[in-house]
Structures are given as C-alpha cells and as structure tokens.
C-alpha cells in the first residue's frame, strides 16, 4: 500500500481560533524587553573580542594552580571544612522554622494564617543572605557564626516556600481517607501527608544544602570565613594561581555534595 492510498478525512474546524493576536503581542513585548535589557547591560561583543589578551593573561597567571601544601592546600582544606560546616548548620538549623512556616503556608489553612506565613517567607527570601550576614556581624562579630545565622534566616524563607508548594502538590486522597476515619489534623499530617511528601522534602533539603555550601562565596565577602574567604583574599593579593587552587577545591566540594544528594534522592524515590 502506497502513501496515497492511506485513508484520509478532512480535519474539522476548531471551535476556538488560535490567539494569533495574543501570540504576536507577547512576541513583540518579549523582543522589546530583550532589546532594552541589551542596552541596559551595555552588551558589546566587540569589547569582548578586543580584550581577549587581558583574559588570556589573567588565566595564564592562574595556571598552573599553586599546589604548595603548607601555604595553600592545607589552609584550603581546612577552609573547605569550615565552608561545609557553615552550609550544614545553615541548612539543618533552618529545618524547624521552615517546617512550621511550610505547614502554615499550605492551601486550606485559615486565610489570615496562610497570608501571614507567606509574607514572612517572602520577606526572608527578599532579604539577601549577605544583608543578614552584615546584620549578624554587628551582633556576633566577623566569623563563621554570623554566616550560619545569615544562611538560617534566608533558608527558612526559601525552603519554607519550596516545602509548602511540595505539600500542596500531593494527592489529598490518603489524607481524606484518614480524616473520614476520625483521625485528627495532626494525626492526618503525621500519617498521610508527611510520608507522602518526605521524599520531595528531603530532595529539596539536599538541594538547599548544595546551594548553601555555595552561598558562602558571598558570605566570605563579609568575613564569614571558609574557602571562599580565601578566594577573595587571593584575588585581592593578585595571587591568581592560589585562587585557581581554591576554586578547584570548591569544584570538588560542590560535585561531592551533588553526588551525595543525588544518591540519597535515588534511594528515597519509590
């Protein structure tokens, strides 16, 4: 049978015409936004091409990395541990606050409670962690502790929002089934909602741990310590080969955290 012999039927007209006008308007608006953004950020490919020598010199100075054990590698490893510790505590200590806000910020709560919880989370998200760090530096002084406090504040807002959305997305069936059996609200939460959301909550927690470890780059700027603090220092001293070593260490650290979280999430998924 050749293609021409295949049965054919006319396609009936669609009741609703596609919104050509709307699509065109959206395309024009998006295009205009990109032009404005191009101008606002002073994008200039010519400058990039002309300045390639500067980049090459900078990279040339960074390579090969300085692998001096006493001067660079050992302090770098110690700083990596500090970075990891800041990320770990910044994540773990934000769990209780995030959990409370997430539960209060799910759909179906009293509107006032819902809005209040959403507002608190928005506020914590809107304030950058580096601002929290500056605030806490004035209280506890420069150092990793201020970094931990800053991460906790910011992370409560972000993780609370991510968690409440994860809770909103689950199937409400098992919860309904327990509710009609006479179980109380907390019992339903503990026995139907939590078991269903724990995998995604833990996945998001690990994702935030990953982000928080990397966030100490900015926190290093306000003296929160860690390997990123050393990166800033080496840049200021024009020791770009040391900087390269530290960046490699951060790379290994971030990849290790990512592998760990991927492995845990795989185990958790059903």
């Amino acid at each position: 049978m050749t293609a021409t012999e295949r049965p054919r039927r006319p396609v009936p007209a669609r009741a609703r015409k596609p919104l050509y006008v709307a699509v065109a308007v959206i395309a024009v608006v998006l295009g205009a936004a990109h032009v404005l953004a191009w101008q606002a950020t002073e994008v200039s490919p010519g400058a990039l091409v002309d300045g390639w020598r500067g980049m090459a010199r900078f990279l040339g100075e960074a390579l090969p990395p300085d692998l001096d054990w006493d001067e660079v590698v050992q302090p770098g490893l110690e700083a990596c541990l500090t970075t990891l510790a800041i990320g770990l505590l910044g994540t773990t200590l934000s769990v209780p606050g995030a959990l409370v806000l997430a539960v209060l910020g799910t759909r179906g709560r009293h509107p006032v409670v819902y809005q209040l919880s959403r507002s608190v989370m928005s506020f914590l998200r809107a304030v950058p962690d580096v601002v929290f760090a500056l605030v806490f530096v004035t209280a506890v002084g420069l150092g990793p502790f201020a970094g931990v406090l800053a991460l906790v504040c910011h992370n409560v807002g972000v993780m609370g929002k991510l968690w409440s959305e994860a809770v909103d997305e689950i199937d409400s069936g098992p919860a309904d089934a327990l509710r009609v059996s006479g179980a109380g609200a907390v019992q339903v939460l503990a026995n139907a909602v939590l078991p269903a959301v724990v995998p995604s909550l833990v996945g998001l927690l690990l994702y935030r741990f990953d982000v928080n470890v990397r966030s100490s780059l900015v926190l290093g700027l306000v003296g929160a310590g860690g390997v990123e603090f050393l990166i800033n220092q080496s840049i200021q001293l024009f020791e770009f080969d040391q900087m390269a070593t530290y960046i490699l260490m951060v790379l290994v650290l971030v990849v290790a955290v990512d592998l760990l979280s991927a492995a845990v999430r795989r185990r958790l998924s059903d």
């Binding site: 098992p174 009609v180 059996s181 006479g182 179980a183 109380g184 019992q187 503990a190 139907a192």
Partner: protein
C-alpha cells in the same frame, strides 16, 4: 427487620445540588446489617455523592442520615465525628500511603482511638493496635504481605488492604465508592466476594457503588438504581434484568457533564 436496620445505615430525603444542578433530589434508602447493597447509575446520577454525604466528605443540603440507629442530625464536633466513625469508606483510587507497609496502612484506620503521643509514627503505635491490624489483614487474606510496601502490592491487594484499614477502624457500616473500577476482572471479583462475605459472615452493612451490572447481579443482595437524583429501581441482585439495566443507562437519559 427494624433491629437489623438499627445496626446499619438509613438515609431519608437526602438532597444535594451543586450550583443549581440537582444531584440528589430526596433520596431514601437503607442498608441493613448483614447485607450488601449495590448502587447503580450513570455518571453524575448521584450515587457517589450519596456515599460522600454519609461519610462527611460532602455536606448535604438536607435530609437525615442514621448510622446504627443514631441520627446524625443536630450532632456536631466530636460527637458527630464519633458517630460517623462507625462508618468507613473505601475508594476507587484506594488512597493508601504507598511508601508505608500494608500493616502500617491498616493501623492508620485505628488512629482515632489513639492518644496523639502514640500516633505520630508507626513505631509508636501500641502493640495492641498492631495485632488488631494484623487480624484485619488476615481477614482480607493478606497476612503474609504485612511488611510489604503498599505501593508494591497489586491493585486488588491494595484495595483489600484498604478494606482491612476500614475493619481496623471498627466500622460496622462499610461504604465502597467504585471499589473495583480500577481493577482487572479477577481482582474485581475477589474484592466483591470479600465485601459480600463481610456482610454475610461478619454482619457488616455494606453499600457499594458499582459500574458493572454483572458484578451487582452476582454479589449484591439488593440493587438500587439511581437516575436523575432519585432511586428509580430497587430489586434483589438475582432478579436484576437486562431491561432494568437498559432503563438505568438509556443513552438518551445520559447527560454528559
């Protein structure tokens, strides 16, 4: 007859409408302890809504629901919840917690009787509850799968776990909303046979919404047919005729929502 009705379910003048569309226009029916009643009808005929009103998932506009001789009218708060607890429901979508074991899911049926401190995690459930749940699992023939994750069981097995959860709740009135619609024919027959046995041997009052007239014929003691929000058919399961079924599902009567 009245004594057995007292220990079952009776519904009088149940009314419900959604935004002007009447789903239940004064429905009366009763399910006695020891019988399996099947509700048939097209999609949107109100059979599921009737069960959801009984269990409290939907608020009826009017009518009276009586469970084991006790009217729910005028009750509220904990008293209403306590009276409702004598009824349990199993669902088409089964609604088990897939990550938990079959046994833990069955235990969850008994949460209402537990203090909060013993109910927050399966590890805290009292031994008495776990052993009762084990007996309920045994009743549905799944004692050997107690520690399997619910999500790993077949559809039919999952629905039997859901029935065991209802038993663990101590329910005397069992409502089943399309319990076999998602199951293959063999599993469907098995679940319906279980529901019939729970009525006949254990004395439960069982009301099941079905879409398969054949299963109703084979397992139901009585069949009720809903059409346009009213009961239009009431007969013994064995006497359900083809013309009865045709009248209920007549294509010109079907209003697609």
């Amino acid at each position: 007859m009245t004594t057995s009705l007292d220990s079952g379910l009776s519904v009088r003048g149940l009314r419900k409408s959604y935004g002007g569309r009447t789903v239940l226009a004064g429905v009366d029916f009763a399910v006695a302890a020891g019988e399996l009643v099947v509700l048939l009808g097209t999609n949107g005929s109100g059979k599921s809504t009737a069960l959801r009103c009984v269990i409290g998932l939907t608020e009826p506009d009017g009518g009276e629901i009586t469970l084991r001789g006790k009217s729910l009218k005028g009750l509220s708060g904990t008293e209403l919840a306590r009276s409702r607890r004598t009824a349990a429901m199993v669902f088409q979508q089964i609604h088990l917690v897939r990550r938990r074991s079959a046994l833990d899911n069955v235990c969850a049926g008994g949460l209402a009787g537990l203090p909060l401190s013993r109910s927050l995690a399966p590890a805290l459930f009292p031994r008495e509850l776990r052993e009762h749940a084990m007996a309920c699992l045994d009743r549905v023939g799944l004692a050997d799968r107690a520690h399997d994750r619910a999500g790993r069981l077949s559809g039919g097995q999952q629905q039997r776990v859901a029935v065991a959860r209802a038993l663990c709740q101590g329910a005397k009135v069992l409502l089943a909303d399309e319990p076999v619609s998602a199951l293959d024919p063999a599993a469907a027959t098995q679940v319906m046979a279980l529901l019939a046995e729970l009525a006949h041997r254990d004395g439960l009052a069982v009301a099941a919404v079905l879409h398969q007239p054949e299963l109703a014929r084979r397992h139901a003691d009585r069949v009720l047919g809903l059409l346009g929000g009213e009961i239009r058919l009431s007969c013994r399961g064995t006497t359900l005729s083809d013309s009865d079924i045709e009248a209920l599902y007549a294509p010109d009567r079907v209003e697609e929502a």
